[in-house]
């Protein structure tokens, strides 16, 4: 038993308000849900829509068909009615448009009129929420609470909204009430209702990130917004750079002088950052870069999703230097994973790429509260007496990691970092031998770094016939696909990567020779993970399921592809 809702309209009509209110209220009431956005690169007009799925336990991904359609304009109805369940309902404003005569699923609610009566047209969305509440049989209390919190500072506004809400409830209850019964509640106490960017922003803050420099770019801007919002109360500086080149170089300066530092961007901005990435590699300056992917090349589809920059993340930047590439897979994991990114950056004095994408960044889910005591803040700095005098920033060590001191940390010791090839002291060198030693030193870090990589998550049948392989934000949808395929009797499992580079190979090497069908599922056109697996292990992945239209994968698409393959 589950309920699926789609709200659609023009940009600026406020789908977000509806979904945020409803999502948070449902979360508070104990339901598990996922809310995803499909929006255009414009501020007003066009067609945007959001999906909300409420399901037992916690839903991992969204589905194509739905039970309730909130059509904020006529276009929405025509674009989506095909996927509305026969037993579904359409909430719409009869003053704005009429449904076709043969459409029997209508729930006409005069959204704007009722809002105006309650105090103002802007509350049309609140009216819609009221109507939705009735259809799914949720009492108004949680939403009312929320409205009071939201408008705590604005006198009378909460009250007016509550009126609007009730008007919506009344209007809808004339059609049907509780006709879409909610699933069982999820267990284990209060949950968070949070989107991917917020997860990452919060993880950064709680990881002791003190400096973020970035240039706005969808879909990464949410991280910047989150952290900027914390500037007043927490010891963090968020600086909007003049461009992405400045962003990455500012962050390197802040990191060098002692702040845990972060930058975030999307593909185009990352392109501009790779020279700085290379500088991080050469100067051995810790840095975390969140790369929130969207479809490329160039400007591409700014508000859509893709996993097209994996190989670029691994190979971007000139010259050769160690780096780690991790990815956000689920809201549950990404919080701790980003902390790991900061830890690795500090421990190995390397840049760490953290891959997110629009699908992850913009998706809200209900998740368990995070355990902040699992986070670490190890700066791995040299303490007094732990370095040889005079201090040398690039002292040769067995691990390749030199004791790191900050400028000003020790009286009379200076810290010199250099973009040219250098000696232990950080001074420019040109000699062949000195060069070789320094390359070897940097590269030696890879041995221990590779050991830090978590093996991909294995979920499903431990001895599968079919092995789905994925990385990043496809975690949830793959999980649902595995569940469904397993339920229909096929021995299926998934291997899902959150730590991608250096590629962990143990599970690949043990599983790949055993399975009948290996299949990489990726949101890109060239099958990048499959290439990397072959490069690193020699194994040829049998098949790829690739989606590159800017939309996230859906479970039923994966299932159909796998089953088609099983047949042939």
């Amino acid at each position: 038993m589950e309920v699926n809702i789609l709200v659609g309209g023009a940009a600026g009509q406020g789908m977000d308000t509806v979904m945020n209110l409803l999502g948070k209220a449902l979360t508070r009431e104990g339901y598990g849900l996922i809310y995803t956005k499909d929006y255009m690169s414009r501020v007003r007009g066009g067609h945007n829509f959001s999906r909300l799925r409420i399901a037992a336990g916690k839903p991992w991904s969204n589905v194509e068909t739905f039970d309730i359609l909130v059509a904020l304009n006529e276009e929405t109805y025509y674009l989506h009615h095909d996927n509305l369940a026969p037993s579904g309902r359409v909430i719409y404003d009869p003053r704005l448009f009429d449904l076709p005569d043969d459409e029997t699923r209508g729930v006409s609610v005069e959204l704007e009129n009722l809002a105006e009566e309650a105090g103002g047209k802007v509350m049309a969305n609140t009216v819609a929420v009221g109507a939705l509440l009735v259809l799914i049989g949720l009492p108004g209390t949680a939403v009312e609470e929320l409205l009071k919190e939201t408008f705590a500072d604005k006198e009378g506004v909460a009250e007016e909204n509550i009126l609007a809400l009730k008007a919506g409830m009344d209007a809808a209850s004339r059609f049907c009430s509780s006709c879409f019964p909610l699933p069982s509640k999820s267990e284990g106490g209060k949950k968070l209702f949070i989107d991917g960017n917020q997860v990452l922003g919060m993880a950064a803050l709680a990881s002791g990130c003190r400096f973020l420099s970035a240039y706005p770019m969808t879909p990464s801007t949410g991280v910047m917004n989150y952290l900027a919002g914390k500037m007043k109360d927490y010891p963090i500086v968020v600086e909007q750079a003049e461009d992405e080149i400045a962003a990455v170089n500012m962050a390197l300066g802040a990191s060098y002088t002692g702040a845990r530092s972060l930058t975030c961007t999307s593909g185009g901005g990352f392109s501009l950052m790779v020279e700085g990435l290379s500088l991080a590699g050469m100067t051995e300056t810790p840095l975390v870069i969140i790369l929130a992917m969207r479809p490329g090349p160039a400007t591409g589809l700014p508000t859509r999703t893709e996993q097209g920059d994996l190989e670029f993340a691994i190979h971007g930047g000139h010259g050769e230097f160690p780096r780690a590439v991790l990815a956000a897979t689920s809201h549950e994991d990404a919080f701790y994973r980003l902390n790991k990114a900061f830890e690795l950056a500090d421990r190995y004095q390397i840049p760490v790429l953290f891959l997110s994408d629009q699908n992850f960044a913009d998706t809200h889910r209900t998740v368990e509260q995070y355990d902040f005591s699992r986070l670490n803040y190890n700066r791995c700095l040299a303490e007094e007496g732990q370095y040889e005098e005079p201090y040398k920033r690039y002292r040769f060590t067995e691990s390749g990691v030199s004791p790191r001191a900050l400028p000003g940390q020790f009286a009379d010791q200076v810290v010199l970092v250099d973009s040219d090839e250098h000696d232990e002291n950080g001074n420019i060198i040109e000699g062949a031998q000195a060069r070789r030693l320094m390359v070897d030193k940097r590269m030696r870090k890879l041995t221990a770094l590779a050991e830090e990589m978590d093996e991909p998550d294995l979920y499903g049948d431990p001895h599968p016939d079919t092995l789905l392989i994925g990385w990043g934000s496809t975690y949830g949808v793959l999980r649902e696909a595995v569940d469904a395929l397993s339920a229909s009797g096929a021995k299926t499992a998934m291997l899902h990567f959150s730590d991608i580079w250096p590629l962990p190979r143990k599970r690949l090497n043990s599983l790949l020779p055993e399975v009948k069908l290996s299949c990489c599922v990726e949101n890109n056109v060239t099958g990048q993970l499959a290439s990397i697996i072959r490069r690193e292990t020699g194994h040829l992945i049998n098949r790829s399921i690739l989606k590159y239209d800017g939309r996230p994968l859906l479970a039923h698409e994966i299932i159909a592809e796998v089953e088609k393959n099983a047949e042939s």
């Binding site: 508070r28 949950k191 968070l192 949070i194 917020q198 803050l205 990881s207 002791g208 003190r210 400096f211 420099s213 914390k230 500037m231 500086v237 600086e239 750079a241 003049e242 461009d243 080149i245 400045a246 990455v248 170089n249 500012m250 962050a251 390197l252 300066g253 802040a254 990191s255 060098y256 002088t257 002692g258 702040a259 530092s261 020279e275 700085g276 500088l279 100067t283 509260q369 995070y370 355990d371 902040f372 005591s373 986070l375 803040y377 900050l406 400028p407 000003g408 020790f410 009286a411 009379d412 200076v414 810290v415 010199l416 970092v417 250099d418 973009s419 040219d420 950080g426 001074n427 420019i428």
Partner: protein, 282 residues
């Protein structure tokens, strides 16, 4: 107190007769006279001949990418406001590749001194025109002569709101040293464009060429913007030197609540104590 010589380290890779030597000496003397210990100072640079400065002055150093001397300097001011930050780099570095950072850091007004070793040419890459090369100068790439007029960094500084705008000449050592001291002590972004002969590639603006032209105008009111603009636009037969404009305004750091108290870099932290931040998502 360290003497000027104590700040000099490393074997320079500059050509004999290069103006960079005087700038380096002036900087060392300035640090000495200001009684700044090497570990209290950070020199940021990009890439170029001038940009090798961090290797030749005993201090912390961030010798970054070509054109990118200012952004790490800005970041370092955020992370550790106790550091005296000096950017010492070339004209190509600061006005060419790094032009966008030049514009926007003047606007930001971080507390740092920006010393541009302006030899009006790309030295390290062997003599192409820089943004400040004289119109008409012929090089291996500008075979028909530089077509564009030279960029005027001081006038740009002024229209972008720089609070400290000065021109020096590496051959006027005492003035250079004193100006560098004033720039370091200035609260905010201090722009010091230093005319510097490049004996290997700039055969137009030689030591003698500069020497003949530079003079010290009387600066009646260093807060008179139009006067400063006028002085900064003088170029040709007569080239004025001096601190044309000196007018502090609120600095970048003062807009950041996080910078009150201890420097960010040295504050202790325990992630576990942060769990309340998730309450807003409940």
């Amino acid at each position: 107190m360290l003497k000027a010589e104590d700040y000099l380290v490393g074997e320079t890779a500059w050509c004999p007769g290069c103006g960079n030597f005087s700038i380096r000496n002036a900087l060392a003397s300035a640090l000495s006279e200001l009684e700044l210990s090497p570990h209290e100072v950070l020199i940021c640079s990009g890439i170029g001949q001038a940009a090798k400065t961090p290797h030749y002055i005993r201090a912390n150093g961030f010798n970054g990418l070509h054109g990118r001397a200012l952004p790490p300097a800005l970041g370092s001011r955020a992370a550790n406001k106790n550091l005296k930050v000096i950017v010492a780099s070339g004209d190509g570095d600061s006005y060419g590749e790094g032009g966008n950072h030049f514009i926007h850091n003047i606007r930001r007004n971080p507390n740092l001194a920006h010393l541009i070793h302006n030899n009006q040419v790309y030295g390290l890459t062997k003599g192409q025109a820089s943004p400040t090369s004289e119109q008409g100068m012929i090089t291996g790439v500008q075979v028909n002569g530089v077509a564009a007029p030279a960029l005027n960094p001081l006038a740009m500084g002024l229209v972008l709101g720089a609070g400290f705008v000065a021109r020096c000449f590496s051959g006027e050592k005492e003035h250079l040293k004193e100006t560098i001291k004033a720039a370091i002590n200035f609260e905010g972004y201090a722009l010091v464009d230093i005319l510097q002969p490049c004996v290997s590639f700039n055969k137009v603006n030689t030591w003698g060429w500069y020497k003949q032209r530079v003079y010290f105008p009387e600066i009646k009111d260093p807060q008179d913007w139009p006067a400063a603009m006028e002085m900064s636009r003088q170029w040709g037969e007569k080239i004025p030197l001096g601190i044309f404009y000196n007018h502090p305004r609120p600095i970048f750091e003062s807009s950041l609540p996080a910078l009150e108290g201890e420097p960010l870099a040295s504050r202790p932290f325990d992630p576990a104590s942060m769990s309340r931040v998730q309450d807003e998502f409940l």
